[in-house]
Subunit: 281 residues, 4 copies
């Protein structure tokens, strides 16, 4: 019985860049971190150390910087697609290129009431993501959000669940619900207005989280996914990964003190994790 190479890829991670657009009256900035991966005809590179088909990952990095200067950089989905086209056009040994792009979000500093033309502050821990997966036969484009942390203080219950002999959790009619939204969605079709849709999905996710009468985090996840699919035609499916960031009511009865849903202990460990795809039929 022999041994052989199975599925394999190589690429460059953490390629960071800031692109400054300098108009007369206003500067725009965009900060991205890219990950690029190639699949292709790389068997002898592994088995015999033949590097003739290996474009160095250092070259991938250089290519990012050159193309970021020569081509529009906005939105990330278009820039990433152009990178992919470049790599596929010049590298016959490559069969598939994947690019993940994560954008750090910046907001203009308010100065004397109006947004500053050239000074910015980081808008949060949240990232806007794009994930492209392309062969010479086609391309799949996903966009997403990572690390959008939310919390609500009412309209969240968890009751009527299955109990076994190891169940001690109490029914809760009005618990704190908090999560860090990680979402990504698959686009259908080609003439997408990526920036407009992304803003809309983000707003829909936040509003649905806020307004939903939650019976569980699964229930709210589904409502969020459904609302996105209802509102945005070019999205075929959305995947949500939602940690249940528990805020436990502190029991103060030992100290002859009541605690009517006021003082909570935030915890990171352990945490629930709810994941699902909501899709069109």
């Amino acid at each position: 019985m022999g041994i052989r190479l199975g599925k394999n890829s190589y690429g460059k991670s953490c390629v960071r860049l800031l692109r400054v657009g300098r108009q007369e009256a206003r500067h725009d900035i965009k900060e991205l971190t890219l990950e690029i991966r190639f699949e292709g005809d790389f068997e002898t590179a592994h088995t015999t150390g033949d590097n003739r088909k290996i474009l160095p990952t250092d070259t991938m990095k250089n290519t990012v910087y050159v193309l970021a200067r020569q081509h529009p950089f906005e939105p990330s989905e278009d820039f990433s697609r152009r990178l992919i086209q470049h790599f596929l056009a010049h590298n016959p040994q490559v069969q598939r290129v994947e690019i993940d792009a994560a954008e750090d979000l910046w907001a203009r500093i308010p100065c004397g009431g109006s947004p500053h033309a050239s000074a910015f502050t980081r808008a949060g821990e949240e990232k806007r993501t794009a994930m492209l997966d392309a062969t010479r036969d086609g391309i799949a484009i996903r966009a997403g959000i990572e690390n959008l942390i939310v919390l609500k203080t009412t309209k969240s219950a968890f009751q009527g669940f299955l109990r076994d002999r190891y169940t001690t959790l109490k029914e809760d009619q009005n618990r704190i619900l908090s999560t860090s939204i990680q979402a990504d969605w698959l686009y259908d079709g080609s003439a997408i207005e990526f920036n407009r849709v992304w803003d809309g999905v983000r707003r829909t996710l936040l509003e649905t989280f806020a307004e939903h009468d939650s019976l569980s985090l699964q229930h709210t996840l589904y409502a969020m996914g459904e609302a996105v699919l209802h509102s945005f035609e070019p999205i075929r499916e959305i995947h949500l990964s939602l940690p249940n960031k528990h805020y436990n009511l502190v029991n103060l009865s030992t100290f002859e003190t009541d605690n009517p849903s006021e003082v909570f202990l935030p915890t990171d460990e352990p945490h629930g994790l709810i994941e699902a795809t909501v899709e069109r039929d």
Copy 2:
């Protein structure tokens, strides 16, 4: 020559809590992480293992939760001071109590154009801090900001610096300037409106960073400190610690491509670090 105990302290770190204020029409939340340290008569605890004067750190934690329920929780400076008063009043063996409080900032989710009454999103990586240091003779109160990340694309130069034989850095008339603001300031007097002043200091730091004609990060640091002291009478001194988060212009000349201050490489390592206190005479 003998051996003895020198300066020592003990306490509890990472005491986390969320406090929910439930008014009819609106909920308010505040999330804090506290660190509590005691200094006092603890020599025999170290040298002979005599624990009779050691209030357990677990008790410090319980005390935080009970007092958070019984007393106003806003602002952090007042709540921390009340904790200190409690510990000093009940623990004659304690000579000094220090409390550091770090607040995670939450903003209301906008829903249909107006801020939601009970749903929130994390406002960023930034933290509002308070540091209290008290003995039975007095208390020093500092407030601060951590991790407020900013960047400007113009009005920043670094020129005319000292050169030696290991200097290769080029003069730069118009570089990117970026830092993560860590500031803390000492209050003078007792009737401070902590929330109002904090908001004002934050705004002043941001506006000064944005507007300053920077000749170096030292130069901008001083301008930021000076602006705060000019505007806020109850602040005696302010300490600023500013990493110089370098964004290096990528050299594309090898690829016959120019780069007129458009494509930059963000780096975390190594980084400059500028620290100074600006104080009243």
Copy 3:
């Protein structure tokens, strides 16, 4: 066109425990962090908020602690399998259970030349992992290593690679090679001596990395995978994910100083990433 629930799961992450085995003359410890995921009949939980088939993630956590007391805890693969059997036996609504276990490694503190019976030091950043994926029809067991950082100062070249107009990387006959080994392998058969094999795979990976005449990281990855498959019959395939942690030779020629492969700059960003599965035919 309707909207429906696609693939979904829920579970508990970061369930941490330390198990102490107390023999007369010697204590043994094992520290694990578990992640548990269920797939099954959870559609109405999402669509209508019906929790009757939802065993709380809090119960999953309790079950871990009870079973860790009642059953042997060593090796992780057996303990995780027992957890899975418990969950499948008592939860007809569950179709699949996945468990990931990550072990923090502890070594005995050497005291007067011999290993201490009950005092330990953390053996490194490295983790031993196990990943079980089970339905009522069968179980797949993978074991692995994460974060095993290695470096070699010779027998590593990278030459003869593909060049395009954006390639500036120099051929290197003798570079530093460093990576953080992440490996996981699939077991075949049922009577595996998990501890013995894991120790053997780890040793084989380290020795192959050390001894291999590397023409690229792909080349070394394949050699490592091949060596493992040669030596360990019960392993059907091994997946390796190896970041190329670049150590760049510092150019000192500007300072009239040579640098014959002596002073290097370690960098984390950007980094190469090489991934492949090596498998039996």
Copy 4:
């Protein structure tokens, strides 16, 4: 009342380097991360943006690499001292130079029973540190250890402590004791064998932690400090900062299961923190 510059400094952080020593039969490596800070005559740099006395932090970095090539790199204390001498000799505007050095520890990979000549594995999360603080009048040298994680399963009690109305902690005759040792000590005199003493201090800290009959973490901290001062004449004082990494016994009585000190829940938040200096009279 005017405003003025108070205490200030500037420098370079996260200057990383690997130094390879290439003997015929054996390579040695040493990986350091340095932080350099200057204090001096920098008032006008802050107040007027006059950079004529500012040696760029980029030059500090270059200097590290050049001197690492030209001079012995071992031990860190000597290399750091040489850097300081260089900076003080060439920069009359500088009054004080501080250097912190943190060493990542590497061990040789065992191959066929013996340590490999040129292949290494990271020895753990632990770092060896050195902190030098120098003016033209003298130098203070501290060495230290960070992140040396230890745990013992017996010979640790915490009893007889102070109780107030918020105390719920139970007396514990035999708890798990775990901490992450952070130690630094001040040297006295000039002809120190830095490597030999560091190895000895590390061994003494570990053995004392393992063997001590602990009545509290304070008690063990003092024993560790005392043991170091007893054994190492050139150390004038040692500072220890020890988080109390709690491992809580899981209460299984709800499930009709006993737990005789076998199953514990490791927690990071909150944690105790014990700090003290042990010094010569």
